[in-house]
C-alpha cells in the first residue's frame, strides 16, 4: 500500500482498511496526509469519495430488504463492488447471497493485502505490467451491462460518463462521480417534461 510512504504506522494503515473499507477514500486520505494536508482537510476529501455509498444503500435497502437490526452491520459492506454484484442479480435471494459473498471476500482480501503491503511484502508486484488494471473497469462494465435495459438507463449511463470524464480534470477527486450521479434525476426530469407536453411525444426508446 501507499500508506507506508506517507508516515502512517502499521496499526494506522490496518485500522484504515478495517474501519473505513472504501478503497478510494483510503487512498485519498493517505495521499492528502502525505501531501502535508491537515487532518480535517484530508478527511473531508475522503468523505466526498465515500458519499456515493449512500446512494447505493438507498437502492440496496429495497433490494435486500434487510431487518433493521442487521443494517448497522451490513452498512460497512456497502461499496461499489457489492452494489454492482447485488444489483446484477435476478431476485432477492441471489442479491442477498451476492452481497454477502462479495462483501465478505473483499473485506478479507482487502485487509489481508493491506497487512501484507504494510509489512513490506511485494505480494502483487506491478499490476500494470500484466494488464490487470483493466480488470476493474471490465468487471464494472460486465455488471453494468444487464442494468442498461431501456433507453432511460442508457441515457443516464451516457450522461454520467460524459460528466464523470468531462469534470475529472477540473474538480477535486471524488466530486466528478458525485456530479455524474445527477444524470439520474436529470434524465427523469427530462422525461417527465416530455410526457407532460401534449404534442411533444417523441419516441423515447423501448420503455
Amino acid at each position: 500500500m501507499t500508506s507506508a510512504g506517507s508516515g502512517l504506522t502499521l496499526l494506522q494503515t490496518c485500522a484504515l482498511s478495517l474501519l473505513v473499507f472504501t478503497g478510494a477514500s483510503q487512498f485519498a486520505l493517505v495521499g492528502a496526509l502525505a501531501a502535508g494536508g491537515g487532518p480535517v482537510t484530508a478527511a473531508a476529501g475522503a468523505f466526498f469519495l465515500g458519499v456515493r455509498n449512500a446512494f447505493y444503500g438507498l437502492r440496496l435497502s429495497q433490494l435486500l430488504a434487510l431487518p433493521r437490526a442487521v443494517r448497522p452491520f451490513a452498512a460497512q459492506w456497502v461499496i461499489d463492488e457489492t452494489a454492482a454484484v447485488s444489483l446484477a442479480q435476478p431476485d432477492r435471494r441471489s442479491a442477498r447471497i451476492g452481497f454477502v459473498v462479495t462483501g465478505l471476500s473483499l473485506y478479507l482480501l482487502w485487509n489481508l493485502t493491506t497487512l501484507l503491503g504494510a509489512l513490506g511484502a511485494e505480494a502483487i508486484g506491478d499490476t500494470g505490467a500484466w494488464g490487470l488494471d483493466a480488470a476493474g473497469p471490465a468487471v464494472f462494465l460486465a455488471l453494468l451491462a444487464p442494468m442498461l435495459r431501456t433507453g432511460t438507463e442508457r441515457a443516464v449511463a451516457g450522461l454520467a460518463v460524459l460528466l464523470g470524464l468531462g469534470l475529472l480534470p477540473v474538480l477535486p477527486a471524488g466530486v466528478p462521480v458525485l456530479v455524474a450521479a445527477l444524470a439520474a434525476p436529470a434524465v427523469l426530469w427530462a422525461q417527465g417534461r416530455r410526457r407532460s407536453t401534449p404534442r411533444g411525444d417523441a419516441p423515447e426508446g423501448n420503455r
Binding site: 494488464g131 471490465a138 462494465l141 451491462a145 460528466l163
Partner: protein, 102 residues
C-alpha cells in the same frame, strides 16, 4: 496524533453515509419517484466509475492500453460471452497492447 484524528473523522464519516442510505424509511423509498431515482443512481455512478477507471490517470484523461482492453470486454459482452471471458479479454488485450508498446 493528527493522523489518528484524520482516521477517526474519516471512519465516522464514511460509515455514517453508508448507513444513511440503508436507514432511509421504507415509506419514503416506496414512493414511485424515489424508487425510479434509487434504481437509476447506481447506473450513473457505476457508468462514471467505469469510464474514469478506463481513461483517468490521476486527474488527466489518457487513451492507453486500458481503453483497448475495456473495448475488448465490451465486444465480448455484446457477443454474450461469460463473465470470466469478458474480464479475461480485457486483461489479455491490455497486456498485449502494452507489450506492443501501446
Amino acid at each position: 496524533m493528527n493522523i489518528w484524528i484524520a482516521i477517526g473523522v474519516t471512519v465516522l464519516g464514511c460509515y455514517a453515509v453508508k448507513l444513511a442510505g440503508l436507514m432511509v424509511p421504507a415509506g419514503v423509498i416506496e414512493r414511485p419517484l424515489v424508487r425510479r431515482l434509487a434504481a437509476l443512481l447506481p447506473v450513473a455512478l457505476l457508468a462514471a466509475l467505469t469510464a474514469q477507471q478506463t481513461f483517468a490517470d490521476g486527474q488527466a484523461l489518457v487513451l492507453d492500453a486500458r481503453a483497448a482492453g475495456v473495448a475488448a470486454a465490451a465486444v465480448a459482452l455484446v457477443l454474450r460471452a461469460p463473465f470470466l471471458i469478458v474480464v479475461g479479454a480485457a486483461v489479455i488485450v491490455t497486456a498485449g497492447v502494452r507489450a506492443l508498446g501501446g
